[in-house]
């Protein structure tokens, strides 16, 4: 069962793309995702895939080419990071608005400026309302697995939304780690062929896509997108169930780690979840009932699951690797607290901004957050919910 390998996160993403063998890949290199199209282009050159690789001149064109290909009826993929995603911005919305199930590998990096090429989540948070399904990956394995599940989710008729798989730039993208790969044939069978119901190059059905959509119609079309996003939750779980049958690896909308009997918990995404698990185990040995809630599916946002999963706690910290710069905490914090509110959950919950611009996040820092939570759990109300960890200030 499976192939024991060691790959970097970028190699894992490129390998997934190779096994998916999409019709079109259009991409422009940008650190730290550059290696993905780089490795993939060698697969194309070596004849290992049938993909049409479009070496575009910008990320705006990369997403445009994906939109054109997908509308034509092809399966299209791309990869980018940070400022590359910023340059795609216009087309990112058009991809989702046109309901084209494009799959993107987003290797998270700080959006400039000042110029920084290292990891945080400001690129992903910038497109959190763009109508893309967003999966986050703790490890290389998850970046790989999430990509293998991506098309089945995005292309589902009840969904038809583009999907991005996020992983932490450098931290996982450039770190060699153990991974279990699937055989090519199994991936091919699992992902399946893409047969869109309507597409532009169908000569039996001449259609128009992307028409003018004025006051009488855009509202309804946006509602349809929101409904598709709500439908995605169930589809994500169904695909995960099939994936588990094949691999034994279980995925949900969220992952709860020693949360059931926890008194205090951290909520976070991507690679920091692993570091947090280490700290949770260490604290448990000291008798501190710490737990973790890892958000795997950030869009659609699992409001009910998160609201419920945190309801029994005495204090919660939500870690955001991007500051919304609104003076009121990070984006994940805002979403988590509103999920808690909807669940009549009044647990004291703080926002922690951390890891900005590749600032390393250590077990000691995670432990310091849990120490804060121990204090918070003794109070009914916290006075300073907008906090930082790993920041220098006097």
């Amino acid at each position: 069962m499976g192939i024991r390998e060691r790959l970097s996160g970028n190699e894992a993403a490129a390998t997934a793309m190779k096994q998916i063998n999409p019709d079109v890949v259009a991409a422009f290199p940008i650190t730290p995702s550059t290696e993905i199209p780089q490795y993939f282009s060698t697969f194309v050159d070596n004849g290992m895939v049938d993909t049409e690789f479009v070496a575009v001149e910008s990320e705006h064109s990369a997403m445009s080419a994906c939109i054109g290909a997908e509308a034509a009826g092809a399966r299209a993929m791309t990869a980018t990071s940070a400022n590359g995603l910023s340059l795609m911005w216009e087309m990112v919305y058009i991809a989702s608005g046109m309901r084209l199930p494009i799959v993107m590998s987003l290797v998270n990096r700080a959006v400039s400026g000042p110029l920084n090429i290292h990891n945080d989540h400001s690129d992903a948070m910038g497109v959190r309302d763009a109508g893309w399904i967003m999966l986050f990956s703790e490890t290389n394995q998850e970046a790989y697995d999430n990509l293998l599940m991506a098309h089945r989710i995005a292309e589902n008729e009840k969904v038809l939304l583009p999907l991005m798989v996020c992983q932490d730039g450098f931290i996982t993208s450039h770190s060699i780690e153990n991974i279990e790969l699937l055989e090519d044939e199994k991936v091919k069978e699992f992902v399946g062929e893409y047969h869109p119901k309507h597409y532009l190059l169908n000569k039996k059905e001449p259609i128009a896509m992307g028409p003018m959509d004025l006051q009488a119609f855009l509202f309804e079309h946006k509602y349809q997108q929101a409904e598709a996003m709500r439908n995605a939750e169930q589809v994500i779980l169904e695909v995960a169930k099939d994936f588990e049958k094949m691999t034994g690896r279980k995925y949900g909308l969220i992952e709860e780690y020693r949360l059931e009997d926890a008194e205090i918990a951290i909520v976070c995404m991507n690679s920091t979840a692993g570091t947090t698990k280490e700290v949770v185990d260490a604290l448990r040995e000291k008798g501190i009932k710490a737990g973790l809630l890892k958000v795997r599916v950030f869009r659609p946002f699992p409001v009910e699951e998160i609201g419920k999963a945190l309801s029994h706690l005495k204090a919660v910290a939500v870690l955001d690797k991007a500051d919304s710069l609104n003076g009121a905490g990070g984006a994940l914090y805002t979403d988590v607290t509103s999920a808690m509110y909807l669940n009549n959950n009044n647990v004291p919950t703080s926002s922690y901004i951390y890891g900005i611009g590749g600032r390393d996040t250590t077990t000691k820092e995670i432990e310091s957050v849990f120490n804060d939570l121990v204090e918070d759990s003794k109070k009914n109300k916290i006075e300073n919910p907008f906090r930082y960890v790993g920041l220098r200030k006097e």
Partner: protein
């Protein structure tokens, strides 16, 4: 699903406004946009064939004999391009309702 209007509920609309039937522009009669109206004067017309290719709405019917006939006012929106290209002034623009 081209027959949608401001009363069509969201669940009856296609996704993204996609139009799955070709040639549906004939369902949108643009003639009521017209404020200036072209008048065809067949006596002056030399059938040179310059007017109908420039009509954005295909509102100048051409017969199998390659000769044009009078305007199709269901679709003519009165842009006046045909009158501009006519070399013999066989098309005159008149304010709608004043002819």
């Amino acid at each position: 699903m081209t027959n949608i209007d401001k009363n069509t509920p969201a669940n009856k609309m296609t996704i993204a406004g996609n139009i799955y039937e070709a040639g549906n522009s004939k369902e949108f009669k643009t003639g009521d946009w017209r404020s200036v109206k072209p008048i065809y004067i067949p006596e002056k017309c030399i059938q040179c064939g310059l007017c109908f290719p420039v009509c954005p709405e295909d509102a100048i019917p051409v017969g199998k004999d390659q000769k044009r006939t009078d305007f199709n006012y269901d679709y003519c929106k009165g842009c006046g391009v045909c009158a501009k290209v006519c070399p013999v002034k066989a098309i005159e623009m008149k304010v709608e309702g004043e002819e």
